[in-house]
Amino acid sequence: MKAHTWKPSAMKALVLGLGFAAGIHQAGAATTLNVFTAGDDNMVAYVNDFLAPRFEAMHPDVTVRALGTGTGDAGSQAIYETLSAQRNQQNWGIDVAVVHQRMAGQMVEEGLLRRYTDDLDTAALATGENTRNALGVNVEGYVMPMFQSQIALAYNPALLAEPPQSYAELAKWVEEHPKAFGYNGITGGMAGVGFVFGWMYAFTDMADTLQNGPWDDEAPARWNDALEGLRAFNDNVTLTPGNAGTMDAMNRGEISMGPVWMDMYYTWKADGRLNPDFRLLLPEPGMPGQPMYYTIPERAEHAELAAAFISLATSPEVQAAGIVGEFNWFPGIDAEHVRGELSDAQWETLYADVDPETLATRGFSMPQTDYFRAILEAYEAQVSR
């Protein structure tokens, strides 16, 4: 993705304000480690309530401060804006940045992130493709996955005993059951965007190229059939306002199936905000997911402490007790290293609906950055108009 030289001043003022707000905290402690995190409020709560006490016990002169920058890619965008606005300063106001995959690639390309995992003791525990490749950008050495986020289809067994198991079956099923499937299009959050990407993986012959590149100028011309199919599909579905809107509509019984982020789904279930009878499935050929990454900005003031913080956060004990134990999210490091720290019941709960083999074969990455943009634009031009 290209860098944009023109940016609204209001946005810069906002992000500088965020940096300033973090800077204020530094006055009260010997050392303050500023952790900026994209994502929901629970990400901030996780850093403040779970990671910070453990890290501060190991480093008594350090105070960990977490600041949330907002949900979805917009949260990562805000972190990017913050760092970009401080580009010419000696020290940047962020020590650890937790960002989505797409923005991590862009920040590596623009030299905003520090290479740090070469000396990290937990780096060897995360060997997945996403530790090296972020939507076509080589990020090896710059990122450690915090957790793996996966999009899947949630369904209500009370309304739907035998759910369609593939995109092809789903496309037929909605014709017989109009409006029973709901998703949030591409303007209401990444669950809907991911569903569209999964559709393109299923109905074009380019699944591998879309994920790994290389970019081909002629490629969008080959998507007509898939997009026309999606347009017809949309006639028979309920469009929901946002990721939460899909789950709200399921709760109210207005739709019986829809795409969700598995981590959000589990969080809602644990909070009692979602019907406990709902189930998940990962349809063929698969759906995309993405990790959240721990990164260290190139000019972080406390880079060594930041690495120590990430080392703690990606240790098997913390990944098991925090990421899986607290949230039922998929661990960022390889599952085999976390298995020994979990009870059988925890393991089974985590993989109750989608087992590790299914996750490995049907869990795709998001499209490479150029295709990411091109698919969304093609959708806007051909499907939603």
């Binding site: 023109w6 609204p8 001043s9 303007t187 209401g188 709200d248 806007e380 108009r385």
Partner: protein, 265 residues
Amino acid sequence: MFPAMTAVVLLYALPLVRSLASAFHGDDGLTVAHVVRAFTLYGRDVAFSIGVSLGALVLIAIASIAIAGYLTLGATRWAVRVLRWLYRWPLFIPFVVAGQLSRSFLSTNGMMNTVLIETGLLSAQSAQSFLDWRGLILTFAWKQIPFVTLLLAGAMAAVEPSHSEAARNLGAGRLRALFHIVLPQAAPTLWVGLILSLVAMLSVLSVPMMLIAGNPTMMTSMMAHRITYYGDYGVANALGLFSYALTAVTAWVYLRLTLARETQR
């Protein structure tokens, strides 16, 4: 004078100029590509934004005239007192909360339909979701009616009471006194309230994000979409141009009304 000017220039004029420049600046210098792209992809959303705003304004005008009129001319004292206490509540509720309220109230199986079905006024089969342009108009109106009513009721209270009393003595009903005596004198304030409401509605992001699924939707949603998913400030600012154009027209009307009032004094 100087600090005030500096603040206005730095906080308002400069961002506006940069935003306008961004709308016409591409990789190869000056371009209208962003504007063309914005209009091609989001022309329907621009029209939708105008339609929803106008619809909401009509509703706001009707409701605020009714409430302010009753507050000014109502004869039942306790009813006036209760209404005066009740109508201001939405003023203190943020747009985002109003959006969430509407979402659970207006959906297919939401509170509104549930109550209608339970009371036998609606069959379950014919229940439909209002989470579309109708929900948007209702939410905007619900949120802005108290604001306009507050202004309008103040203006109506300032109208010399002897005017409406004279009309009533000559046999005019309350409605006639409202529309022929009180409202014409308070009309400039009503216009100001509606114009400020239009600007507020055009700038709200949370409500369309929470209520509207897919397209068309309000321009603010599409601006956020361009920035969030594409990092594309060019098209986002080109969409902003349409907002500026709409608000510029209303600002011109606002200034004319204000000047007209000053001249009358």
